[in-house]
Symmetry: C2
Subunit: 659 residues, 2 copies
């Protein structure tokens, strides 16, 4: 440690000046030295840096100064949160969890069957996926509100990516193998993101692009349901808006009025109950029970009127029994391995984003914390285990988790209750679904995904940030008119570009003095701020990097030119000194330092001084290490803009005093 506060040095060069020159009639200068941060050795600095990148939450914090046994207990509780809340579990909590568990089960069964069809998988896979993964999550997961199971977006993406290469009708076994394999890789990807603490990758789907992406995906999913809703037999296998509409209207002869009538009646029923549930949170159970009610009613209807003989398509035979093991179906070699891995990563990324967002939203409502990296591992392990027990990609679902929360779930036990109901269904109730019409599944999907279209949020984006709105719109149209994967790629691309453009073309503000203070602020923002004659004070609002060093050099020279023109018109004196306020320059690299030196030289040739104010620790260190500080002159770096002005004015006046 270098320890202790340092002496506040006077400005050395001015001191020399003072002794050699007659003191001009000015108040004494108050100049503070710009300090360097303590020099760290390479290894500790690297360790610290890596720690900040990968362990920002300091996960080992609670293990400090504990006994070995306590450490062990904490570690077990860390990896299996059930041991944390399990010990405090009570009958009271159980009651709440049973109610919410039953409620989400009534949603999960019809949705499970529907989403499996969305991914072109046998309907029973959707039920399998609502049994094993929720059980695993209840042991490993740290959210108390997440309702785990198949979800629409991930189902859609998996189906559309696999179908591009393998036909589910012609090669059903290969298709199923690839779906399980993709699920396995999704799990591996998710768990490794958590294990390698790379959770920030998920943050790259920014909210605006997600709003657009989900809205577009919801419409794509709904359009796919036109097949079931209209009873069309020969439907396109493409996902885009245009081919689907063409397919719908070119097969008008296949539309069955019985199917259409039934579909739209139940759609109206579900939408109305959904509205009721949204308007009155207390009546959430109306919306929650509606899908199962529709399934029961429509099944009875078909059975009673033998509607299957009148063009209404039904699910048909479903196998009874528990999840069969599927580890032997994983596909680790051959031509389609790349496809399985790609599909796994994309659907894994999407389901992880949904699961984390849902978990965080409800955690924030109930004021508890969720550890993102741990949650990723939980979801990942759940999917890896799922892929070996005939499940496809699962995560926490937006719609069912909201119902779970409203139904008063307290812990992950609600998932166990739900899984138990699914278990009973799998063991005993499967034959009851024989007469369930396909159209009802389409209707359930449409009602579920409609909630993903968030018009209000899009309007909010337009108001606050036009660029965010454009990003949202681009993702939306990308999904709708190009493809789901392309929409996702566009979303990530735009998000990244938004960060980059901020560095490539940073904002520069001219500063002026706020009357009555020593502060200098943006002249455009603070209209009371006043320019300082002979000075051009610029604040650069970005790191100075290779990506903008050339730009900044040219742009600053243009500022000088424009400012001189302005000063000329106002018959003010010429610019004598350019002060760069580096408060917002949070980093600098070798190209950036080069640019500053170059600028210094150019301004010097034009009899102007370049002075820097308030470099942050990292920048000060780089200026020192690269010897740019010396090259600029030690009298060129100041703590504050006001001190820079004082010192340079003093210098200019003492120069004038000389002959």
């Amino acid at each position: 440690m270098c320890g202790g506060p340092k002496r506040v040095d006077r400005f050395p060069d001015i001191q020399d000046l003072e002794s050699s020159l007659p003191p001009p009639a000015m108040e004494p200068l108050e100049i503070h030295k710009v300090s360097l941060p303590e020099r760290k050795k390479t290894l500790p600095a690297l360790k610290n840096g890596l720690g900040e990148v990968f362990f920002p939450d300091d996960p080992f914090y609670q293990y400090k100064n504990r006994s070995f046994l306590r450490k062990l207990v904490l570690a077990v509780q860390y990896f299996f949160p059930i041991f944390q809340w399990g010990s405090e579990y009570s009958l009271q909590l159980l009651k709440s969890d049973v109610i919410s568990g039953l409620t989400i089960a009534s949603l999960a069964i019809p949705q499970g069957i529907s989403y499996a069809k969305l991914a072109d998988l046998p309907p029973i896979i959707g039920l399998y996926s609502s049994f094993v993964p929720p059980l695993i999550y209840s042991v490993l997961g740290s959210s108390r509100d997440l309702a785990v199971g198949p979800v629409s977006i991930a189902s859609l993406v998996m189906g559309s990516m696999l179908r591009e290469v393998v036909s589910p009708e012609k090669e059903p076994v290969l298709y199923l193998q690839l779906a399980f394999t993709a699920t396995f890789f999704a799990g591996v990807f998710q768990a490794s993101l958590g294990f390698l603490r790379l959770g920030f990758i998920v943050d790259f789907l920014s909210r605006p692009t997600l709003i657009g992406f989900m809205g577009g995906a919801a419409i794509i999913v709904s359009l796919q349901q036109l097949k079931g809703l209209l009873g069309i037999e020969h439907f396109t296998t493409q996902m885009g808006f245009v081919p689907v509409m063409v397919s719908v209207f070119s097969h008008r002869t296949e539309w069955g009025w019985q199917t259409v009538l039934m579909g739209f009646s139940f759609l109206a029923f579900l939408l109305i109950t959904r509205q009721i549930g949204m308007r009155r949170p207390k009546l959430f159970w109306v919306a929650a029970a509606a899908p199962l009610t529709s399934v029961i009613l429509s099944t009875i209807f078909v059975f009673a009127f033998k509607a299957q003989n009148h063009g209404v398509k039904i699910i048909g035979h479903l196998q009874k029994g528990l999840n069969p093991p599927s580890a032997n179906m994983l596909y680790f070699h051959g031509t389609h391995l790349g496809l399985a891995i790609k599909t796994g990563i994309v659907s894994g990324m999407l389901s992880l984003t949904e699961g984390l967002a849902v978990g965080r939203t409800f955690a924030s409502l109930k004021s508890y914390q969720i550890d993102g990296n741990k949650e990723m591992m939980a979801i990942g392990i759940m999917n890896m285990a799922g892929s070996c027990t005939s499940c496809y990609v699962t995560t926490g679902s937006f719609s069912r988790s909201a119902v779970n929360y409203n139904a008063g779930s307290k812990t992950a036990v609600s998932n166990i209750v739900m899984a138990s109901v699914v278990l009973i269904t799998l063991l005993f109730l499967m034959p009851l679904f024989y007469y369930t019409p396909n159209v009802i599944l389409s209707v359930i999907i449409i009602t579920a995904v409609i909630g993903l279209i968030d018009l209000g949020a899009a309007v909010g984006l337009w108001k606050v940030d036009k660029l965010d709105f454009i990003a949202c719109l681009t993702a939306f149209f990308g999904v709708l008119f190009i493809s789901v994967q392309m929409g996702l790629a566009i979303a990530v691309g735009i998000s990244t570009f938004k960060i980059l453009i901020h560095v490539i073309r940073p904002n520069i503000a001219a500063l002026g003095n706020v009357p009555g203070t020593h502060s200098y602020r943006d002249l455009e923002q603070y209209r009371e701020a006043q320019r300082v004659p002979s000075f051009l004070i610029l604040s650069i609002e970005s790191p100075i990097y290779f990506a903008n060093s050339m730009y900044l050099q040219e742009r600053i020279l243009r500022w000088v030119r424009e400012e001189e023109e302005r000063a000329g018109q106002m018959t003010e004196s010429n610019i004598k000194c350019v002060i760069l306020d580096l408060s917002a320059v949070t980093a600098v690299d070798t190209s950036g330092i080069g640019a500053l030196l170059e600028l210094h030289k150019t301004l010097q040739n034009r009899s102007m001084r370049l002075v820097l104010a308030n470099p942050v620790a990292g920048v000060a260190e780089k200026l020192h290490l690269s010897q740019a500080w010396e090259k600029l002159g030690s009298e060129s770096v100041f703590l504050r803009v006001s001190e820079a002005i004082d010192a340079v004015s003093y210098f200019l006046k003492s120069q004038q005093a000389q002959p």
Copy 2:
């Protein structure tokens, strides 16, 4: 305009407090209002924003208030800089340009032949490429020192990319077609970058990664020359370090001692003259004349001793005559079009980077400006024209431009002189190269590319910035052990990642008061700075975006926890207020605002206040538009940290004063 300085308002909530409470014994508060920037309409704001992105240099500036004729003259001079300097050209300048032109011609002829061989093209293409492009550049280009012609890196990349798909031995015509087509697309790419004012894309090759990339490429190129240097017949077509070394040592029987002896003698000669040229800039002509001298000497030697009959391979017959037209050889359809476009873009990008860097370097040495976008168009048009006259990719070469500069070139006329010498060579001197041994071309290439390995710069990176050094090293090893394109991709990827990581994991500094000022600075940087009891003042050094909003929230809460622990150990009072200094937060998006509100809520639950200081214009505007300002409370945003502390202290004291 809202005009005029605003009244400096007192802090409203505090005023209310003052009237209702007995004034505590404190100095009066001096609080300034945080202003919003003037509200801009969407369209003008968009226009302004786009203008800053695409026209930062305000290129139409000089056309303002000029007559039409003057505008026309300026426009012609803009597009054809030759009309700018041409009118002031004198005999004195011509003398300098002739000397430097002759000097670079003596380099350009052997290098042209050598580089064409590096790209697996007929040697004559290298000479063609040293004739037309320099002439075009001398009319369009704005650099006075650039020596135009084929360069090593672009030749290497073009050769290695095309050879992966098409064999230059088996399908020479197709290969040549693809080379011209790639050159055409390189030109189109370069010119469009300039025309669309997207020059910043070139800045994405940061200096550290370029140093690594060029070092790696230089070694790859040198290794390829082992074929010629050792006289090996059956050489690998791969570029990587490992296959080349394997190939060299598995064909030891093919090494010819005559070739090796000749090669190493001339290599020693060239390296020594190179050293002389570098040590004594006045003797630059020794280094510059050495390659041509080697060619002449070795050719005479082979001719005299009939060395071609003793295993020394010679160039053989070269066609006499000027560049034949090749527009009919461009290939705009068929299976290899994608390859040609890809090769064009990659080699175009690399040659543009080299040309711009060389141009800027020498412009800075002579203190004149180069317009990047215009230069891109010049280089692009030059390559498009080149592709129609049997030339492949050309740009300003590092090595020859340095010689040009040292030889005293004054204007682009030196390029015209060089082209004239190449013209004479093409017309009359081609038979003289019949006996030139291939080994001498290899030696010339090795000597030329050795200068691209910049160990000193790498050491400098290590000293100033470890991350830059790692980026450099990764690009180096990527080129050496994976492939040239991969090395380039890695280089761009790392450069981009470096910008992103700075936003994903931003720096946060705890601030303290610098004694004797109202300034608050990083406690780690300024060891004299003092903590303010009951306050935690954090400066966030990055925009608050989707990519870090989750991180910042968690990290700030960890700061609070750690600070409370520290305060507990020092028996100080607890943290009552967290002040976020937003001076370095240069932007915020909807996710970032969400994070601030979330943090506000969390801290409130723990009886702490969240207060913001000094939001820049953009951030203040977003806080206002999203109504976050209101939600945080109007008494939560201050102009300066010191004012925030005064106001909150006042509030806390007056709370204590109450029962």
